[in-house]
């Protein structure tokens, strides 16, 4: 608090009112989504028709709840599968990148660093179409040359994983590098002096030190992967992840089952987000 600066009380109260309004603005859509998950009406809109659990546990059409809605459950599993691979790959590559950029000096380092940051400023939809175009071109060439099918290079889960990995790795690299920079190299030197091999020292000293950052990066990667829409939309095949399934439903108009899914998503990501904050301590 900056003390010693005189401010009129009108100004103070206007400022506080503005901040309050801002937080209401932030909360409003989320509160609305959650509230309508319990509305006893087949549309997520006014008027309020009373409280119900149907959109979670309902079994009869049109009141099928999330836990009995097969396509949505399947797309959650798909999203989980994608998120697992994206998180594993991006943490692995991100850790290598962190060691490379923090520990090594080599010609062209700053150029490579800028290149590494580029995925942050490429719009997601462009990443999506560029990977789509490129992989289809390779698939066409390979199929013409060999007469075999290369389904992995056609829109589908592999491309979705690669597309999300292509920009989430940048975030993983930044998170892990930040922690590696704080590492005291003398600890590793001590291990080397005590007869540890280079790799042994890294494995028993440096990696455990990095673990919180790697775990936080993994959590962030899972969250980003679950949320991602733009890149995924361009690369998706027949198995749609959750966001794409929900988008298709939204466009057509849907029952409040979507609100129920959203509420569950919020709870899950709040838990994960808290976990990542705890890990980063």
């Amino acid at each position: 608090m900056i003390t010693g600066i005189p401010q009129s009380s009108t100004f103070k109260w206007t400022y506080r009112a503005y901040i309050t309004l801002f937080f209401i603005y932030l909360a409003l859509p989320l509160v609305t989504v959650c509230a309508f998950a319990f509305n006893d009406s087949v549309f997520p809109s006014m008027p309020w028709d009373g409280f119900t659990w149907d959109w979670f546990f309902g079994t009869e059409t049109p009141r099928i709840g999330v836990f009995h809605e097969r396509p949505i459950l399947r797309s959650i599993v798909t999203s989980g599968f994608v998120a697992f691979w994206v998180a594993s790959l991006s943490v692995l590559v991100g850790t290598c990148n962190a060691f490379l950029f923090v520990r090594h000096d080599f010609p062209g380092k700053s150029f490579l660093y800028i290149l590494m940051l580029l995925p942050l400023i490429i719009p997601g939809i462009i990443l999506g179409i560029s990977i789509l175009v490129f992989s289809s071109a390779i698939a066409n060439r390979l199929e013409d040359a060999t007469g075999l099918w290369f389904d992995g290079l056609r829109p589908g889960l592999i491309l979705v994983i690669l597309g999300q990995f292509s920009f989430i790795t940048t975030f993983a690299t930044l998170v892990i590098s930040a922690r590696l920079q704080k590492f005291d190299p003398s600890l590793e030197e001590a291990a080397l002096n005590l007869g540890a091999s280079k790799w042994g020292a890294i494995r028993s000293i440096t990696l455990p030190f990095l673990f919180p950052a790697m775990a936080a990066a993994a959590v962030v990667a899972v969250l980003m992967s679950f949320e991602n829409f733009n890149t995924t939309l361009m690369l998706v095949g027949s198995d749609a992840p959750l966001t794409v399934t929900m988008f298709d439903r939204l466009k057509l108009g849907s029952t409040p089952v979507l609100n129920a899914v959203s509420l569950l998503l919020m709870l899950a990501s709040a838990a994960l987000g808290l976990l990542s904050l705890v890990l980063r301590r």
């Binding site: 400022y15 942050l120 719009p123 462009i126």
Partner: protein
């Protein structure tokens, strides 16, 4: 450790980075550019040329949409900055300890859920049978239901909402590092609040302002969900054109050209912003 050994280690460490950047970023973008240069002249026959780009410039719908997307994105960025700056200043300078952490975390919470859910929330609020319309009818401000969805105002609300985090976080970080005594010194020397804002606070917050604006602009420009869902069929957003060329019309050549134009626009504006304010990409993004 021998020199050769560390050389080998360096190469091994660099391999994943290069594999990632070359196969998923560089080559696909070169491929995209090559496809954007091929014109379809017959069944499975193509010619190299700038025909797809010519189509863009001769068809008013396309470049109007392009200009509109750029303009709306710049407006959304400016609005986000205007709305977010006082909030960031409040969090960074006027609160302390626990309440500071709480307020900061409260800013982050909405962004742990997907953009789709946030947009869905705005749809429920703004649609004809939605919360806002019912509330205003209840108050007696309007007589019948009013559709607040499917217009530019709705798009703008959604864009500002969706990018707020990316503005507030860098602003709070840079404002936090500003020494309070500098502001107090300004007051002691008799400066007005406005000149302190202009001479001390804004110059200090510049890196945060630039990185926030770049990210928000990029997110708005490349956004697909918010304009399509909140703007409806006539949202005329450039990413919507790209999507329809790729998925509905199956005209990948024109779609690639559109993609490259969007990439060009965003790069030009990002680099212009960096140059004008004397910042570097590594410094603003690599934090």
């Amino acid at each position: 450790m021998s020199k050769d050994g560390s050389r080998l280690g360096l190469i091994l460490l660099m391999a994943p980075l290069l594999l990632w950047l070359v196969t998923l970023i560089i080559l696909p973008h070169i491929g995209l550019f090559v496809v954007s240069l091929s014109e379809k002249v017959g069944v499975r026959t193509y010619e190299t040329g700038f025909g797809n780009y010519a189509v863009f410039f001769t068809e008013p719908l396309y470049w109007n949409t392009f200009a509109r997307t750029a303009y709306m994105s710049i407006m959304a960025t400016a609005l986000t900055l205007l709305i977010g700056f006082p909030v960031a200043y409040y969090i960074a300078k006027l609160t302390r300890g626990r309440s500071k952490t709480t307020l900061f975390l409260m800013c982050l919470i909405p962004f742990w859920v997907s953009e789709l859910v946030r947009t869905f929330g705005w749809m429920i609020l703004l649609r004809e049978t939605g919360v806002l319309s019912s509330f205003l009818q209840y108050l007696g401000v309007i007589n019948g239901p009013v559709e607040f969805l499917y217009n530019d105002f709705a798009i703008m609300t959604g864009l500002v909402y969706t990018s707020m985090l990316f503005m507030v976080v860098p602003l709070v970080t840079t404002l936090d590092s500003l020494d309070d005594s500098l502001i107090e010194a300004g007051y002691d020397l008799g400066a007005s609040s406005l000149s302190i804002l202009r001479e001390i606070i804004i110059p200090h917050a510049m890196p945060g302002i630039v990185s926030g604006c770049i990210v928000v602009f990029m997110l708005s420009l490349g956004n697909y969900l918010t304009p399509i869902l909140l703007g409806g069929k006539d949202s005329l957003w450039f990413t919507g054109l790209i999507y329809s060329q790729f998925i509905t019309r199956f005209n990948w050549e024109l779609g690639s050209a559109f993609g490259f134009l969007l990439l060009g626009l965003s790069s030009v504006i990002v680099f212009a912003a960096l140059k004008l304010t004397g910042q570097s990409l590594g410094k603003t993004m690599g934090r």
